[in-house]
């Protein structure tokens, strides 16, 4: 589905929801299973974002529907337990959307900085 998406199609998906952004960001580092994603997000946000299973899979399904991530075919062999789990991988389109959203946010941050609103005590 995603292979047919044009650049303008991808732009329609912006802005990403914070949770969608975080999931794509975690997967940009490599394949993860569901619990791995939850743990990574918890660590990255210092525990301020704690995904529950229902919400996580709703986000994963939505991102897969949009072609931003896919289920990985291969499994790491090191951990037998991990072989049963589904792994997820970010797609090229996902990387593009992630980058585009990050650029959008960067632009916004720059605008804030230019107005000297980002102070140390903020």
């Amino acid at each position: 589905m995603m292979s047919n998406r044009t650049k303008s199609n991808l732009a329609e998906l912006l802005p990403l929801r914070p949770v969608e952004f975080l999931v794509l960001l975690v997967l940009a580092d490599g394949e993860r299973h569901g619990y791995g994603i939850v743990q990574d997000i918890t660590e990255r946000t210092d525990g301020t974002v704690k995904l529950l299973p229902g919400n996580l899979y709703a986000v994963l399904r939505r991102l897969m529907e949009c072609g931003l991530l896919v289920e990985a075919a291969r499994r790491p062999a090191a951990d037998l337990e991990d072989q049963r789990r589904r792994y997820y991988r970010i797609t090229k389109a996902g990387q593009k959307v992630l980058a585009a959203d990050a650029a959008r946010m960067k632009d916004l941050v720059q605008q804030v900085e230019s107005r000297n609103l980002l102070r140390a005590d903020a």
Binding site: Y35, G54, R61, R84
Partner: protein, 906 residues
């Protein structure tokens, strides 16, 4: 999924719940992700356990489980909303509008607008749900006030009521005073024990201030109030030295009820030390009981089947009527267990302590928690009625669910457009649920208003039950109503939202909402089946109770209650100390009564049937072994001609005559049941009957009479002539030629013409007393029938609505069929067939369910089986007729369809 990690029981239970909740997801989503979600759930539980222990796991489980239904609904919606996926502004709404209070207020505002645009639907939904919630809340208020509220005693959980039982004889009796003393001295597991005598016939006459007044009174030991944990509101309760050790030996003091104080002394604060004259004896008031204090004693009262004993005056144990050392089991016993003592331990100890006082070898002790004892006989009927209102509410929810589905079908275009314009799935689903919840909450407000009126109605009709005067729509009942509204909103809102979500919005836009889906029809039919089934259950229950009541009221009482008036007096021993003076009074009153115009016959007895409560005695044949168990029999003192006047049949021998006077040989008549038990093989005529203080010769056998209720079995009774054995309690029965109620004032005047200082009670017609004896049965039958009728009306509306929608959605199909030559009748039959099949399935399910549930009704039914085929067949026929009628009305519209118009519209 088979990982064997140790888990706490809380996690296992949470896992099970979570696993069940996952079934809310669509099947394909469940297959693809449920195992993973469960695995993550377990991992996160383990993590929470490491971090925060069991509490963390519990909190996480609650959060995770609460999240599933909403996500599942989104999932149902999202699978079909193709339009949404391409929405250009999908994520453009700022997040503060998607979540939080802003969004909630937006939803509520939109829901209000949406509901205002559909006033008919809104009014119907609120009225229907309000009716369901109102009836359930009113019934809950009664159950809460009577059954659930704690008794007004300190630590009521430690209070028990005690009986002595002889299982082989099927008898449970109260305590004798000797047993009480033995129990109190030797028991180690009770903090204290007490006895009291609060029988229904405990009354006295208050004189000395104007018109004599009959007041209820009880006697009790000094330990009663400390055992109950109740304190006098003014003054004090009795002290042990005020009790008497022989009849009449108690101190002349009295403790009065709050209600009596208000009535007798008004606002006067200083009532302590005041004297009142009771049965000719002056007694000093030493204390006032707290407001509402009453001890329940299950009995039959003249004005109903059960009396709540709120005695007005309490006297210390040791009054002249107290049976001290005579071995009479006339005292109700109550004990307070020590902390951490179980009822079983107390039973064992009490049985050992009282072993030496046993009348028979198989003596047992029965201790029942006070709460259970005071609510005896009430739980089942009240819970039955509450369950009935629950079914009524479920039917109302079913109606609104099918109605909502029809509405949503009509709104598919609106919903699809909103989705296409950028509303997310969750937003639309949340919006629909907000509308449902809003309806539910508003309905609960209407329900509360109805419940306030309904509770008043319930109390007005209710037979006397304990604490009924304290029943009202309390805070608990209000919370119950709001919870019901919320629950109802979710119940009827969720399923239609999911089903609406499942419909393709794209197809909705194309088809303009003209077609229904098979899944929706299936849902509607399922709801309809349940509605009809619940209605069948209610109608069967109401039908069984109605037939039972009808059978009960058709019972021959064994005497003729028509055109009979009654009045009762108690003769004070001070003024009527001898048999002669008592007999003289009765004879004079009878003469005065006979002089009243329209009076045909008059008689008197110590007590008349309904209530027919009187003392029971152990009696035996003179020739029988004195060591053998005695036969218990109830004794009635009656005037000559009593049986003829009452219309009680003589079966053998003779009745009493004027010749059976004080100097004549002592004689007795026995009832049929009494004769059967004592002399199963021979005639009782001429046999000598021994009872505690004398021996009498049996001169006749009379037919048995229903005495307490029409449903009660005939008891063994025997009669002695009033002239030979007088009593201070006298009931007069007057047979009139016309309406007995008209002579009641004259009866009172006639009695007062003989003695103006007597209080008259139980003044009424015998027919009304007989009818009121079935007040419990009449009450529950009336309510259950009312619920059945309401359920039928709701079910009929449900069938009507579903059929009407089926007609509307099949108009095009029917138009084409008609164009092809199908007849009107065939068309109507096709529509009717669907409704009738649904109705038949519902009736089948309901009849089966009622058969299964009705076994629990057997205690409430009189001479009718819970599986009574007549009731079931009648209910099935009524419901079938209802289904046919309510589906025929909309179905006949199909015959008016113009095929040309339909085809032109295509």
């Amino acid at each position: 999924m088979t990982r064997q990690t140790p888990r706490s029981p809380r996690v296992s239970a949470g896992e099970t719940l979570y696993r069940l909740l996952l079934f809310c997801y669509p099947a394909d989503v469940r297959k693809s992700t449920a195992l993973d979600m469960l695995e993550i759930f377990r991992d996160m539980c383990s993590m929470e356990r490491r971090r925060s222990g069991a509490i963390g796991v519990a909190l996480f489980t609650i959060r995770a489980c609460a999240e599933v239904p909403g996500k599942a609904i989104q999932s149902h919606w999202g699978r079909r909303s193709v339009v949404r996926a391409n929405a250009p502004q999908r994520n453009s709404i700022p997040s503060r509008h998607k979540f939080g209070l802003d969004a909630a207020f937006m939803d509520i505002r939109f829901a209000l607008r949406s509901l205002r645009k559909r006033p008919l639907f809104t009014i119907v939904a609120i009225c229907t749900l309000g009716l369901g919630i109102g009836s359930a809340t009113a019934m809950f208020s009664v159950v809460d006030g009577v059954l659930l509220r704690q008794l007004p005693y300190r630590e009521p959980g430690r209070l028990v009521t005690a009986w002595i039982g002889y299982p082989s004889r099927g008898e449970y009796v109260n305590f004798t005073d000797d047993q009480y003393r033995l129990w109190r001295q030797n028991s180690t597991l009770f903090q204290d024990v007490a006895i009291y005598n609060a029988n229904a016939w405990g009354h006295g006459t208050l004189t000395g201030s104007g018109r004599p007044e009959r007041v209820s009174l009880g006697t009790a030991t000094a330990s009663l109030l400390p055992v109950l944990g109740v304190e006098s509101s003014i003054g004090r309760w009795f002290s042990p030295d005020e009790e008497g050790t022989e009849p009449g030996g108690a101190a002349p003091v009295v403790v009065i009820s709050h209600e009596f104080r208000s009535r007798a002394f008004g606002d006067e604060r200083d009532v302590l030390g005041r004297t009142i004259e009771l049965d000719g004896i002056k007694r000093a008031v030493i204390g006032v009981l707290p407001e509402g204090f009453r001890l329940r004693w299950l009995t039959k009262s003249p004005l109903g089947t059960r009396e709540i004993v709120g005695k007005e005056l309490w006297l210390p144990f040791g009054q002249s009527h107290d049976c001290i050392g005579c071995g009479s089991s006339m005292y109700q016993a109550v004990g307070r267990l020590r902390p951490n003592v179980t009822v079983e331990q107390a039973v064992a100890e009490t049985a050992t302590v009282l072993e030496s006082t046993a009348f028979f070898d198989d003596m047992t002790v029965r201790l029942v928690p006070r709460h259970e004892d005071e609510n005896r006989g009430l739980g089942q009927p009240l819970v039955l009625l509450l369950a009935a209102t629950g079914l009524l509410l479920a039917i109302a929810c079913g109606n609104i669910a099918t109605l909502s589905l029809g509405e949503l079908r009509g709104r598919r275009t609106e919903l699809a457009t909103r989705s296409a314009l950028g509303a997310s799935n969750s937003r639309v689903v949340r919006q629909l649920l907000t509308e449902s919840l809003l309806l539910g909450i508003v309905s609960s407000g209407v329900g509360v208003l109805l419940a306030k009126t309904g509770t008043k109605g319930l109390l007005l009709l209710a037979p006397p039950v304990p604490r009924i005067d304290q029943v009202g729509v309390s805070g608990t009942a209000l919370a119950f109503a709001v919870a019901l509204g919320f629950f109802a909103g979710v119940l009827f809102g969720t399923a239609p939202s999911i089903l609406a979500a499942r419909d393709s919005i794209g197809s909705a836009l194309r088809a303009s909402g003209c077609t229904g889906t098979g899944r929706n029809r299936h849902f509607q039919n399922s709801v309809l089946v349940l509605e009809v089934a619940f209605t069948a259950v209610l109608l069967v229950t109401g039908g069984l109770l109605t037939r039972s009541l009808s059978g009960l009221l058709g019972v021959e009482p064994g005497f003729n209650p028509e055109n009979m008036a009654t009045a009762h007096v108690s003769l004070p021993e001070v003024r009527y100390p001898t048999q002669v003076s008592q007999t003289l009074f009765v004879t004079e009153v009878i003469r005065e009564l006979k002089a009243i115009p329209g009076v045909q016959a008059v008689t008197a007895a110590n007590n008349l049937p309904f209530p027919g409560t009187t003392a029971g005695w152990g009696v035996r044949d003179e020739e029988a072994d004195p060591n053998l168990p005695r036969q218990s029999g109830k004794l009635f003192h009656v005037m000559p001609g009593y049986h003829e006047m009452m219309g009680i049949r003589l079966l053998d021998g003779r009745t009493f005559t004027e010749e059976d006077h004080l100097e004549a040989p002592s004689v007795a008549l026995v009832g049929e049941e009494f004769a059967r038990r004592l002399w199963p093989d021979g005639s009782p005529i001429g046999r000598r009957l021994v009872y505690p203080w004398t021996t009498v010769t049996v001169v006749g056998v009379v037919a048995d009479v229903r005495r307490e209720t029409l449903g009660s079995s005939p008891e063994p009774v025997f009669y002695v002539p009033f002239s030979q054995f007088t009593r201070s309690d006298v009931s007069f029965a007057v047979r009139t030629s016309g309406d007995a109620a008209l002579v009641l004032p004259q009866i009172r005047e006639a009695i007062w013409s003989v003695d103006g200082d007597l209080a008259i009670t139980q003044s009424g017609t015998m027919a009304s007393l007989v009818a009121r004896s079935a007040s419990d049965e009449r009450y529950r039958t009336l309510l259950m029938s009312l619920f059945g009728v309401l359920a039928s009306a709701l079910a009929a509306v449900g069938v009507f609505g579903v059929t009407a929608r089926a007609v509307a959605h099949r108009t095009r199909e029917m138009g084409i069929r008609m164009a092809l030559g199908a007849s009107d009748t065939g068309m109507v039959t096709t529509i009717l067939r669907g409704s009738i099949v649904t109705g038949l399935i519902g009736i089948g399910v309901g009849i089966f369910g009622a058969l299964w549930l009705s076994s629990g009704l057997s205690d409430l039914l009189f001479e009718i089986e819970p599986s009574d085929p007549v009731t079931y067949v009648a209910v099935a026929c009524v419901l079938l007729a209802l289904c046919v009628f309510s589906s025929y009305l909309p179905a006949r519209r199909i015959a008016r369809v113009d095929p040309v118009e339909v085809l032109r519209a295509e």
